[in-house]
């Protein structure tokens, strides 16, 4: 979706402000919001692409006024209520009022290290040939889906070069909608700075994105 999460190339946010000796978390609730979000992936009621969409799917005004973990927490509340794991009246009173929805598994403390070490590989077997090879010129499509996509606005409709054929990976545009993993060939595509930003672009800069085959056409 063309939401506020798609920030590449926007102007006016001011300088980057690194914080010296920054702690991993800035408040206790951030730790809880973070860990609850990770733990609640274990019951298997959503995937990572659905999580990302739940975070970005809000008005730009709201997105830009919330802190990082406020967005994570809001998305977690949305997902647990949408999946009927928790109901709105329970959130209001802060207690369980209804029987739980049966879930296949939960995260046990002894499994944490193993679950993290397994992670979430997205590469899949493929029985198709990659359409592009390293060095091929491609153009990104001009797409504007209201649903989740990983093709940022600033590279849409642009001419680039396939830098690397990565492999066949879960397609987030499909996975985020519950339409299956629909694995697609994934490529690193490199763009010249001036192709993206015009004649004033820095000629010493290139920008690469990882783009799935459905985003690309031969050029």
């Amino acid at each position: 979706m063309n939401g506020a999460q798609d920030l590449g190339g926007m102007q006016g946010f001011g300088p980057v402000a690194p914080e010296p000796n920054e702690p991993v978390f800035h408040a206790d609730w951030e730790k809880r919001a973070f860990a609850l979000t990770l733990a609640m992936t274990m019951p298997g009621q959503w995937n990572i692409d659905m999580s990302r969409f739940a975070r970005e799917n809000r008005s730009p005004t709201e997105y830009l006024s919330m802190s990082y973990y406020q967005i994570w927490f809001a998305a977690l509340e949305t997902m647990v209520t949408e999946r009927d794991l928790v109901s709105d009246d329970e959130i209001v009173v802060g207690h369980s009022l209804h029987p739980p929805k049966p879930v296949p598994r939960i995260l046990s403390p002894s499994a944490v290290a193993q679950v993290l070490y397994r992670g979430g590989p997205t590469e899949r077997e493929s029985n198709t040939q990659a359409r592009f090879n390293a060095g091929d010129r491609v153009r990104t499509k001009n797409i504007n889906p209201p649903t989740h996509t990983r093709l940022p606005r600033y590279v849409r409709g642009r001419l680039g070069t396939i830098e690397r054929v990565i492999g066949c990976h879960v397609f987030p545009d499909s996975n985020a909608q519950g339409a299956g993993e629909n694995p697609q060939w994934l490529y690193t595509v490199r763009f010249d700075g001036r192709e993206l930003w015009g004649a004033d672009g820095d000629p010493s800069v290139t920008v690469s994105v990882d783009a799935w085959e459905p985003y690309l056409v031969p050029a």
């Binding site: 590449g8 926007m10 102007q11 946010f13 001011g14 300088p15 980057v16 402000a17 690194p18 914080e19 991993v24 206790d28 609730w29 809880r32 919001a33 860990a35 609850l36 733990a39 990302r52 970005e56 830009l64 990082y68 406020q70 927490f73 809001a74 509340e77 794991l85 959130i91 802060g94 207690h95 369980s96 739980p100 929805k101 939960i106 995260l107 046990s108 403390p109 944490v112 993290l116 397994r118 992670g119 979430g120 590989p121 997205t122 990983r150 940022p152 600033y154 990565i166 990976h169 987030p172 994934l186 690193t188 993206l196 820095d202 010493s204 800069v205 290139t206 920008v207 994105v209 783009a211």
Partner: protein, 208 residues
């Protein structure tokens, strides 16, 4: 879901709205049996104490001293880094990027906050912030200036926007004057920012 918790004293404490909301949801999830509290604590401890930039620094230091590892790292980052015991969540598909005197790599996630947790831990606030996410792809030299880094005009800058599940680790150039140093000592020169590309490795003089 919006809640009006402006009058914190009604709750008998000075807890912030976010503290109250996270506590409420955690209570519900616990009462319903969806979470084990000890697992929450282990997750927090893992990312506060165990997984951090020291992992990545080990990878870089090894690449500086071991040519065969270095070659493997750039050919198959996931396997080479996995051989040191790092991988998994936000690190299942790792790509190492080689900085040279003529090429400087910088990593960003314009769409969210993708970051190689397995080797760097959780990202700093600035990495997730609108200024960094918006400007790095258009004006990387301006962003570097915010970090006090100035590169020669003819240095090629390659920006990598992490739009898929690949996670990028920058291998900074090895500082001069470190010949014969052990991996462990070299790792002290490898800063988190140098592995994102917003900084350079420290020089031996910086350690004093």
């Amino acid at each position: 879901m919006t809640h009006d918790h402006e009058h914190h004293h009604e709750h008998g404490s000075d807890l912030s709205e976010m503290q109250l909301r996270t506590r409420a949801l955690e209570t519900i999830l616990l009462e319903k049996g969806y979470i084990e509290p000890a697992a929450i604590d282990v997750l927090i401890e893992t990312y506060e104490k165990k997984i951090g930039p020291r992992n990545g620094a080990q990878v870089v230091a090894k690449a500086w001293v071991d040519p065969r590892f270095r070659q493997w790292l750039f050919e198959d980052g996931t396997a080479a880094i996995g051989s040191l015991g790092f991988g998994g969540r936000s690190g299942n598909h790792l790509v190492a990027l080689e900085n040279t005197p003529s090429v400087h790599n910088m990593v960003v996630c314009t769409l969210c906050s993708c970051y190689p947790w397995a080797v760097l831990g959780l990202p700093p606030l600035w990495y997730k912030s609108a200024p960094y996410r918006s400007r790095t792809v258009a004006d990387p030299r301006g962003v570097l200036a915010d970090f006090g880094v100035t590169l020669p005009k003819d240095t090629e800058i390659r920006v990598w926007d992490s739009t898929a599940e690949l996670r990028y680790l920058v291998v900074p150039t090895r500082p001069a004057g470190t010949e014969g140093w052990s991996e462990e000592k070299l790792a002290d020169l490898v800063t988190r920012d140098s592995m994102i590309g917003t900084g350079l490795a420290k020089s031996p003089g910086d350690l004093k």
